[in-house]
Assembly symmetry: C3
Homo-oligomer: 309 residues x 3
């Protein structure tokens, strides 16, 4: 039961909740595609507090609330706000929760969302906090896999790119690891998944560390590619070399399973060649669009319990 | 009658209007708490023009308009807007008033809101102009007192902290002074209420200048504490000394009247110890939340005359 | 038929569409003036992506969508957004179009809106791209003329001021030139309309280059004045001289035809003396307010086909 709950970490979402979210997201996807309007959140307000910018996450949440018939109040540059006058997160979130029925927060500091959820009088959705969690991204990733395969277990999933700093892959692997999935980690040495993080996972036997893209190319069901940030490299030549070997292009795609899909949390830069955008395996735009439907489901389940009207 | 009026200064609000606002705010508070949605402002638009940032004031107004079923268009950083191309306040406000049914403006320059109200074709609500007025803050402060005591007269009220620059206390004392209240001014010497301002007040005999917190602690009904800004002090030692003597902590609260309340326009920094947040006398979060209901009442009374549907 | 179309350039609007837009805008103007609320866009979302700030254009679009009963999600400083992480316009617009039903974009780069319209899965409205087009400004300008004269042909129209950089006059002259209008170009030498632009126009015989304000003052039906930017002048004395001769003041207005109107895309600075704001020929505020009604018409015709309910 998600009703009344805050979602700070993907661990806050129980296994049975996943499927409830997916089913509800499917229904909302159909409703929106048919151009029907909803009034489930009529009179309700979401506040979005973004202490660091994230256009994609913010707009996706705001679109979701609007699609449900609710309203939004928004601080897209919260660092210029009361916080700049020395206000604590606790006080800021108390304000937010007295102005709205649900709060979405993004913050550069790991743990900020947990603090917020403790002081808020309304549910808090973590829109990403530092190198911590980004649970709604994980939910939309899982929904996209579920939509394709009808399940989120017994699959082979390759996480590719920046596995060290990439917040989305940390949230995702935690969730995938709960189920019986084979997971391949494919990354340059300096961007490998940290040991201290890997140690928090339960089923380590199903995880192949230090995989090579060529080894997993023909067996993988889901490629999850992340952006490799130039800024991580001291030497730009190293960046060029890495990008060269991790770029998803036509040649690579042609060697994949017919049924495989390629996902990416976006924005992408050089990791995926725009020439493959039209390929049937390119799922990253579908994935991005799914963000709205999954967030609609989550808002509805949290504020209304998702009961069918 | 507030219908069609601009609210630039608390002086624009007549005594009988106060009680109409309070009653209407009470009704809206009940409606919102019950989760009922309203459509009183359906099809109406509020524009918020903030030439200096004020998250709390802006979001509170926007929440109020949304709670009433209306829409909001917003400029949170108006200094980057047309004004930057050399446009006058007169022309900017003409634009705002041709796009919306009511305008909320905050501006760093005293008198800006008055100018705006003269050129606007729709009502203007002053969201604070320089060291000038901040009338809706005063209304929510008064409503909070009225909710507690059932009246805004015959009370002993101590204003504590920065009485020199604090815009909210200037608006508030003007209003309190209209009624038969005893007012104590408690502040460090360098932050005393300016003489030129005190001279504008009518009933000066009811005002105790240079009060000491210990003297008034056991007789005060309402403590109104304001933020003391570090930047006001040349010597940080002076700031530390002042904060030391004006901080509301458990020891101080224990000596207050059982029935007393502590208010603060927020954000607070060091003036109020978070440890007393759970004390029954701590009214600052209730006060902040009341901002939405008072602004709902004001918008409704101005745009619809507040008639009951 | 505008249904489902993007509007990147005024050339995308066919002649018969002009009149359909004008009629629909008239109806919406009446509806809004009467305080009636509309639900034509209920459940629909507009996203506004402004890669350079333009308060007037953005708020006017957002007001229009709200007046129609729709919602808005907004990025007023898109340069701080995903684009800053290296995302292409194509990817940004794909995101926008998966979150909303119609996208308004403003971009500093000429041609950006065309690119956006090619990758978007929903209609794109160009809110100005570099020195390129600003078609909705042109439509509201034409509507204002049509409202006054009942036609947009067989008129004498003088374009005054910065005809070199002024994006609005380029869009406007293209449209006016389609009909049988006499057009006078009045500008300082350094701000004349560029030859390469003039060469794109069809009926050059109806255009009087290098007109003098005194020559055209008594025959002109519509004066369209644009802002002359100080920054264009190396020598500020030159600016002062130019402003001196192009300023619309009482003396100039008194010599105009009784029926003439003065328009300006705003913001104005020194080109129009505020003392003539009350003159019956001053149409620039009416013009600005018309922006909302014309954009309502456009959104409605594009998303619904404008059918009467």
């Amino acid at each position: 039961m998600l009703k009344g709950k805050s979602i700070v970490s993907i661990d806050d979402v129980e296994t049975e909740d996943f499927y409830e979210i997916f089913h509800r997201a499917s229904i909302f996807k159909k409703t929106v595609k048919e151009g029907k309007s909803l009034e489930l959140m009529k009179g309700r307000i979401m506040s979005t507090f973004f202490f660091e910018p994230s256009t994609r996450t913010r707009l996706s949440f705001e679109s979701a609330m609007n699609r449900l018939g609710g309203s939004v109040i928004s601080v897209s540059e919260a660092k210029n706000s009361s916080a700049a006058k020395g206000e604590t997160i606790a006080d800021t979130i108390r304000m937010a929760s007295s102005y709205s029925d649900i709060v979405v927060m993004r913050h550069p500091m790991e743990g900020a969302a947990r603090v917020a959820s403790e002081f808020s009088t309304v549910p808090v959705l973590n829109g990403g906090d530092g190198s911590g969690q980004h649970p709604t991204q994980t939910l939309l990733d899982l929904f996209t896999i579920w939509e394709k395969y009808g399940k989120i277990e017994d699959l082979e999933i390759s996480l590719v790119g920046d596995l060290k700093y990439g917040r989305t892959v940390h949230s995702l692997i935690k969730a995938l690891n709960r189920f019986n999935n084979k997971i391949n980690l494919v990354s340059p040495e300096i961007l490998q998944m940290p040991d201290h993080f890997l140690n928090t996972l339960k089923n380590r036997t199903k995880i192949n560390l230090n995989s090579n893209i060529d080894e997993v190319l023909q067996t993988t069901d889901v490629f999850y590619v992340t952006r490799i940030q130039k800024e991580r490299f001291v030497d730009l030549n190293d960046y060029q070399k890495v990008i060269g070997s991790y770029s998803f292009n036509q040649e690579l795609v042609d060697r994949m399973k017919d049924n495989a899909i390629i996902m990416h949390p976006l924005p992408r830069v050089d990791e995926i060649d725009p020439k493959i955008d039209g390929n049937k395996r390119a799922y990253y735009f579908i994935e991005a669009a799914n963000g709205v439907f999954v967030r609609m489901a989550l808002i509805d389940l949290i504020l209304r319990g998702g009961k069918v009207e």
